[in-house]
């Protein structure tokens, strides 16, 4: 490829990645202000983040709400995706659209809806309220992931299991679920992240008691008073960085082994050939 395009791509990649890295040095800043470069360095922000109830509580809340959202979402998305992929029924298109709808309606619109509705149900400032709202938000993506995986699932292995004596439930437990486990995991992970990162609805309905981490961060950014936000940002960013690296690692390892296989003849093919 053209060296100019390469250079341009690298420049843009730098623009995409670099700004986020600034949160790391900032998290060690001793100043309460947003001064960069920091005048001095300290661990105080991290100490605050992990000990100040103003931060630990929202972190715990967000984790709990995230887990609740995963359960709620999967409870709804799994049956729905099986219905969508494996059944033909009246109103299938409408059903599909209904499931996608939360992705279409802007979150701020839903925020005002939940604010009023949950206010009447007394679900404002409760875990349940936030979990229900977040599950709606997470549902479309999780369902998309599950249906994509289900479409590629060969049903004859289920038939084989039943033919060999497994009841429908045993078939699901021993065959369908284990084979689809990666897709279930990814769908669940998406639901968790959708909830954990969701700021708008959390801002309006989680309230003071059950404040989510994004709500706390939003307020901290808006008020520009609490430097702990830097540690929170850095913590979240490092989490993503680690996650992306873990995702990248297997690819690197695979490439590495392929290279090895090329250099010593048939190294990669060895294990398979040895036993046959």
């Amino acid at each position: 490829m053209n060296v100019w395009i390469r250079s341009l791509a690298i420049l843009i990649a730098a623009f995409v990645a670099a700004p986020m890295f600034i949160v790391i040095p900032m998290s060690f800043s001793s100043a309460a202000s947003l001064a960069f470069p920091p005048p001095g360095y300290t661990l105080q922000n991290y100490v605050n983040f992990f000990s100040d109830p103003n931060w630990t509580q929202p972190l715990t809340n967000s984790l709990l709400i995230g887990l609740g959202t995963v359960c709620m979402t999967m409870l709804v998305a799994v049956p729905a995706s099986f219905a969508l992929v494996r059944h033909v029924f009246i109103g299938r298109t409408v059903f599909n659209l209904l499931i996608m709808l939360p992705m279409i309606v802007p979150t701020i619109v839903m925020a005002i809806g939940y604010y009023i509705y949950f206010g009447q149900l007394r679900l404002v400032q409760s875990y349940l309220g936030v979990i229900l709202a977040h599950s709606c938000i997470a549902l479309p993506m999780s369902t998309l992931i599950l249906t994509a995986a289900l479409k590629g699932f060969d049903r004859s292995v289920e038939r084989a299991a039943m033919n060999l004596g497994a009841s429908p439930f045993t078939t699901f437990r021993l065959i369908t679920f284990p084979i689809l486990r990666p897709a279930f995991t990814v769908a669940g992970l998406f639901a968790f992240i959708a909830s954990f990162d969701e700021a708008v609805i959390g801002l309006f309905i989680s309230g003071r008691d059950k404040a989510t981490l994004p709500r706390q961060m939003f307020n901290a950014v808006r008020q520009e008073a609490d430097p702990t936000i830097s540690a929170a940002s850095s913590f979240l960013f490092l989490l993503v960085l680690a996650g992306v690296c873990i995702w990248l690692a297997p690819q690197l390892v695979r490439r590495r082994t392929r290279l090895l296989g090329q250099t010593d003849g048939n190294g990669a093919a060895q294990p398979a050939a040895a036993t046959s």
């Binding site: 029924f89 802007p106 005002i112 809806g113 309006f204």
Partner: protein, 283 residues
């Protein structure tokens, strides 16, 4: 006999459909219905909320600036994302992995983290201000809390979206087409414009639609980084909830935003079919 030929609703899929239908009815459609109802009934039943919006020059300017910003962000992110996606789709495996990793890193990082990063970078004690005054621009202009800072941050936030939409389409373009065009005597640039660009068009359409729609309803970044005098539509909905407590008006604005969003989707659906939008260009 006739009845059994049509798909059966009752037996098979009913227990599978029921949870989603019940859940979404109770916790999605009803709250959405509340928004519609509030817009028409608060403080009194009627269309007066929409009348107020129609007559408000402030709302008109908010709509205008929302559209302008969304359009600008869409174009800018396309401009940035296209070379990135092109390089990822056509470069060596290693280079592609590197670029996609960067995109993924940005994609998965919370908007709030990125917002905070931009506050530091663009703040009056930040590196950009320092650089400008070092270059002799003194006093350095105010960058943070302007439409510029919000646009910049939103563009940065949405480049990954755009890149992924483009990449999904580009990686399926057979390089043979371009080579064939060049082989037939087309200048590389000409070959790109007449062959590659049209082939990547579905990705451009998908990416632009997604980014534009996301931008229309964007709340966090415009509110935290934008100018308070030049708000976007989501921001003023938030104001109605938090400050003026005028739920009727807030709901009416929400309905306008919803209608705009649905209109964009409807146009997309009319020409391309909605199911392609989320499937990354293919079915």
């Amino acid at each position: 006999m006739k009845l059994r030929t049509s798909p059966v609703f009752v037996e098979g899929p009913m227990p599978l459909i029921a949870p989603a239908v019940m859940f979404l009815s109770l916790f999605f459609l009803v709250p959405l219905g509340y928004v519609v109802w509030m817009s028409l009934s608060q403080p009194v039943i009627g269309l007066q909320n929409f009348g107020r919006l129609l007559n408000s020059s402030l709302f008109a300017s908010v709509l205008y600036s929302t559209f302008k910003t969304a359009l600008l962000v869409t174009l800018l992110s396309l401009l940035f994302a296209y070379p990135l996606a092109y390089a990822a789709a056509n470069g060596s495996k290693r280079f592609a992995t590197f670029l996609l990793t960067v995109v993924a890193l940005s994609f998965w990082t919370s908007y709030l983290v990125r917002t905070y990063a931009w506050m530091v970078i663009l703040g009056n004690q930040g590196p950009v201000t320092a650089l400008l005054s070092w270059l002799g621009w003194d006093p350095a202009p105010k960058i943070l809390f302007t439409t510029f800072s919000a646009t910049l941050a939103m563009t940065h936030a949405l480049i990954p979206f755009m890149t992924m939409s483009l990449f999904a389409v580009m990686k399926r373009i057979d390089p043979l087409y371009v080579r064939a065009a060049e082989n037939l005597g087309a200048h590389p640039l000409r070959a790109f414009v007449s062959v590659y660009l049209p082939l990547s068009a579905p990705g451009i359409v998908n990416g632009c639609t997604l980014v534009f729609i996301t931008c229309l309803g964007f709340y966090v970044m415009p509110v935290l980084l934008g100018s308070p005098r030049d708000q976007m539509i989501a921001g003023i909905i938030g104001d109605q909830i938090e400050q003026t407590l005028d739920f009727g008006l807030g709901s009416a604005i929400s309905i306008v935003l919803l209608a705009l969003t649905l209109a964009v989707y409807a146009v997309y659906n009319r020409f391309f079919g909605l199911d392609r939008l989320w499937a990354g260009g293919d079915r």
